[in-house]
Amino acid sequence: VSHDERVRVAAVVIAAAVMAMGGWGLVASRGMGITEPDGVLLGWRAFEAGLLTLNPLGAGLTLAVGALALAGAFLRRWVVVAAAAVVLLVMAAQVLVQWGGTPNALGSRGSNLSFWSGAGIGLATLATAAAWSRQPGRSVRPGARRAEGAR
């Protein structure tokens, strides 16, 4: 598997995780006010494994951004992946500004900061790496990963 392909697969996995969380949130938050400040909790509270909280707007946006990143990764349009990453980082910033008060437009909490910032940082890093390795004269040595793993 080429290095470019590994970068693409990593972006697809992150984008799919974002989409899955958005889809889950959309189903779980049905019937809730679209910008309800206290979103529905995804996860397993009984096992102390609560994940994100989302209202329908937060869930819909997460799903849409995940779909955008997925399309970009499939089509190798890294600008699109980078744009999705920027939106995710803006959504993470929303948590810092609005969580704990009203309005809280996306129904988010601290866990959303972790998830959205992680997805944004991951996609941005992969888009940057893909763009760098596509420059003329740049290439990642075949087998470099195997050598790295042995260190």
């Binding site: 992150i14 704990g100 990963r145």
Partner: protein, 181 residues
């Protein structure tokens, strides 16, 4: 009398973990990532429980009420509690980033060490508090040290994908990233 023979002992170089070893490291890293992601969900700004004496403020106060290590208790009493909102933001952002980077497997050695330090800090606050199980915190510290020491992000993580790119780049950030991953 037999002929004397030279016995040559070669030191076997340990190879990378086998399939089960890699899978175990991935599961451990992801579990720690979910731990921090989940627990950054109850540190609620802007007061982080200060006004009602609940949440993060309550657990931080345990460092003084149920002292574990006197210098740490002094630090919490004289520096942390009087500036609690600043401390709350630092904790929230650090824990959220721990969740993010451990789930990604990005700069895993660095974030594994940060996780161990955070676990130690929590242990020094709550270890002697009622109904706490000290071994939970020893295990947390140990698990983060394993993730950092084994560079767990190199398998099914972004460190494994990006280290070859960083290796080709000659820039200082790339060298740092290689070192921290």
């Amino acid at each position: 009398m037999g002929e004397a023979q030279d016995v040559v002992v070669t030191r076997a170089e340990p190879g990378p973990p086998d399939r089960w070893g890699r899978a175990s490291l991935v599961v451990l890293r992801l579990a720690l990532g979910v731990l921090w992601l989940s627990n950054s969900g109850w540190k609620r700004p802007p007061d982080f429980g200060e006004e009602r004496g609940v949440g993060l403020h309550r657990f931080t106060s345990f460092a003084v009420e149920h002292e574990v290590f006197p210098p740490y208790a002094w630090f919490v009493e004289t520096v942390v509690l009087p500036n609690f909102r600043v401390f709350g933001w630092v904790v929230l952002v650090t824990e959220a980033l721990l969740g993010a980077f451990l789930l990604l497997g990005l700069l895993t050695r660095f974030w594994g060490l940060v996780g161990a330090a955070m676990s130690l800090s929590i242990a020094l606050s709550v270890l002697m508090a009622p109904e706490e199980w000290p071994w939970a915190y020893y295990l947390m510290i140990g698990a983060h040290l394993v993730v950092a020491g084994a560079a767990a992000g190199r398998w099914f993580g972004l460190d494994g994908v990006l280290r070859p790119v960083w290796g080709e780049r000659r820039s200082r950030p790339a060298r740092w990233a290689t070192w921290l991953s």
